[in-house]
């Protein structure tokens, strides 16, 4: 089981709500996925409307809503957006996304760190979307982040874990949960992320744009469980035998 801040999650698959062909399909897929944390883009929902199409399809006790700040370009806008979300959705959880660049949606590390510091002080549970940057992760920890969400590859690209070497470093030295976000394109990517020790993965596009999102949601559910089991069972070692030059320990026999 995974704990973030004080909340316990049975499922390590987090999901997003964008790009589905209809709210009904989204609802079915997310229900099948077993996911208990679902991100919603503030810019896409009508916070004042209880009948909002997306929100009304997420009205299940197992879904914890995680509003994201997608669309903001700096820390100031992010803090403002988070406060709006807290009021409207009655949650102090926030997925911090600051990408001033509209083409690749690359997260801005400097503004993200600033916003994390401020939001943590304001009592938010902050989950920042970031580049797979190990040093930034440590700074975010010091700033009071509840988890880190490094990208596997560019958002929406389905390219998988291009940043795996850095993800491994982040995982090995993190004191907060590591959730691999962005780029996961196939269940095998999700399984791999879990095998190397990620605490959870966040998947959206790969489910939403597949031909059968409901089936794909189930595939991800199984892959995440399998990957986690493999991590816990400890993978067998890949044998690298030592190069033997002259013996180094024979002096001990003299």
């Amino acid at each position: 089981m995974l704990t973030i801040a004080d909340k316990v999650f049975n499922s390590r698959l987090f999901t997003g709500t964008g790009k589905f062909s209809s709210a009904e399909i989204m609802e079915q897929a997310l229900l099948v996925s077993g996911s208990e944390l679902v991100t919603v883009a503030l810019k896409r929902v009508d916070l004042k409307d209880q009948e909002d199409d997306i929100l009304s399809h997420l009205n299940y006790p197992q879904f914890n809503l995680l509003p994201n700040t997608s669309g903001v370009r700096n820390a100031k806008e992010a803090v403002f957006a988070a406060q709006m979300a807290r009021e409207a959705l009655e949650t102090n959880w926030i997925k911090l996304e600051i990408h001033p660049d509209p083409k690749y949606l690359m997260p801005d590390p400097i503004e993200t760190l600033k916003a994390t510091e401020e939001l943590a002080k304001l009592g938010f549970i902050v989950l920042p979307y970031i580049h797979a940057d190990p040093v930034l992760c440590k700074h975010l920890e010091d700033a009071g982040t509840a988890a880190v969400m490094p990208l596997g590859s560019p958002i929406g690209s389905n390219k998988g874990l291009k940043t795996i070497d850095f993800l491994e470093i982040i995982i090995s030295q993190s004191n907060v949960p590591v959730i691999v976000d962005a780029g996961i394109g196939a269940p095998s990517d999700a399984a791999k992320a879990m095998e190397i020790g990620a605490d959870a993965v966040l998947v959206n596009t790969a489910i939403a744009v597949s031909r059968d999102p409901v089936k794909m949601a189930e595939a991800f559910k199984i892959a995440v469980i399998a990957g986690r089991m493999a991590f816990e069972a400890k993978l067998g070692s890949i044998n690298s035998s030592a190069v033997s030059s002259s013996p180094l320990t024979s002096f001990l026999d003299d």
Partner: protein
């Protein structure tokens, strides 16, 4: 995340850890050798008796990992004993309060006489050592010493009594770069037995010293246990656990490990646990296989043959030409030493030996301008 190591430490049982180390099998050792990212469980296997037949393989891997990260260089440092006054009773130490010998604390002038000799030897890295006599050797004294020494050395380390965070915060800007503080043993009850009197008998205060150093923002800290007091395998596991905790928490700090074996001294106590040369090699390699970044240091307590051979195995820093008594270099060569040294070669001889082995002796690896 908890605020200090004690909270994590208290979740472990010495006996259970010890048992799990001794239960490791050759299967566990082979797994640990094959893994690329090794865990504390792997470390347990590598320090276990089951790893003994794999020593050569461990040495080969340790050598490769060390060369990859550090290259063929060896950092050299020298201890400067400032005082042998001590209010503590430690059953294994020549400076212990109950050891009736003449006590000495170097005056500023005497310190400078010692410094002249060390500079002559070529040193840029000095390790200041004292006993624990809080009324004479205190933060104010250290402040004066640092002001005195700073112009003469590029890097100043310290191995003195544990201090409060605020004391470290005062000393670091004055040029204190590295602090060594050994837990001696992580066995709580035995720790009490070996430290019956004085401030040092407070196990937790010592255990939390690295946390206080981390909070104060020290550049580097050194950990270790005194080998001989308790089961070295279990003690080393806790050292590794401590290191892992600190690295994650105080991530801007560098770390080094030492493995002092109990040495004879005046009034001495025989080690409860003997560690063979073979076992010490095993431990050095196990640390390296667990952690490729940590600096591993070996002192002149060890023999010439041993030191010469472990250079290629994982060690990255060593002392040379050491005296372990205050004034030992110039002022009062015959004063009481803390322990006998074994490798008596001069720094120049060590440099030559390193050269023959294809290694470069590094005297300066830091500049006070950076601090």
């Amino acid at each position: 995340m908890t605020d200090n190591f004690t909270a994590l430490f208290n979740t472990y049982s010495w006996e259970q850890i010890k048992q799990s180390i001794y239960e490791k099998t050759s299967y566990d050792v082979e797994r640990a050798l094959g893994n690329s990212n090794r865990t504390l469980e792997d470390f347990k296997a590598l320090i276990s008796p089951a790893a003994a037949p794999y020593l050569e393989q461990m040495a080969q891997l340790s050598r490769l990992a060390t060369l990859k990260r550090f290259g063929k260089v060896m950092q050299l440092y020298v201890p400067l004993y400032l005082s042998n006054e001590c209010n503590n009773i430690c059953t294994y130490c020549g400076f212990s309060l109950d050891n009736k010998v003449r006590r000495k604390t170097l005056s500023p002038m005497e310190i400078m006489q010692e410094v002249a000799v060390l500079k002559e030897m070529g040193y840029e890295h000095v390790l200041l050592v004292t006993g624990e006599a809080n009324q004479t050797v205190h933060t104010e004294y250290f402040k004066r010493v640092l002001e005195l020494l700073r112009p003469h050395f590029a890097l100043i380390s310290m191995e003195v009594q544990p201090l409060d965070t605020e004391d470290y915060e005062v000393l670091i800007p004055l040029g204190l770069n590295t602090v060594l503080v050994y837990q001696e043993t992580y066995h709580r009850e035995d720790y009490k037995k070996h430290h019956p009197k004085g401030k040092k008998s407070n196990f937790e205060y010592r255990l939390e010293t690295p946390d206080r150093l981390g909070k104060a923002g020290v550049h580097k800290m050194g950990l270790g246990v005194l080998i001989g007091l308790e089961d070295w395998r279990t003690d080393s596991f806790f050292t590794a656990l401590h290191l892992e905790y600190l690295e994650k928490k105080y991530w801007k700090t560098k770390y080094s490990l030492s493995f002092p074996r109990l040495r004879p001294f005046s009034g001495g106590l025989a080690p409860k646990v003997e560690m063979s040369d073979r076992e010490l090699v095993q431990l050095i390699c196990a640390y390296r296989l667990l952690n490729e970044e940590v600096e591993l240091s070996i002192s002149t307590r060890e023999s010439v043959v041993f030191r010469d051979h472990v250079i290629g195995l994982g060690i990255t820093s060593m002392s040379a030409g050491s005296k372990t008594n205050p004034g030992g270099y110039a002022v009062e060569p015959e004063s009481l030493e803390q322990f006998e040294i074994c490798d008596e070669r001069t720094p120049e001889e060590i440099k030559e030996m390193l050269k023959e082995k294809g290694y470069e002796a590094v005297w300066k690896d830091w500049d006070r301008l950076l601090q």
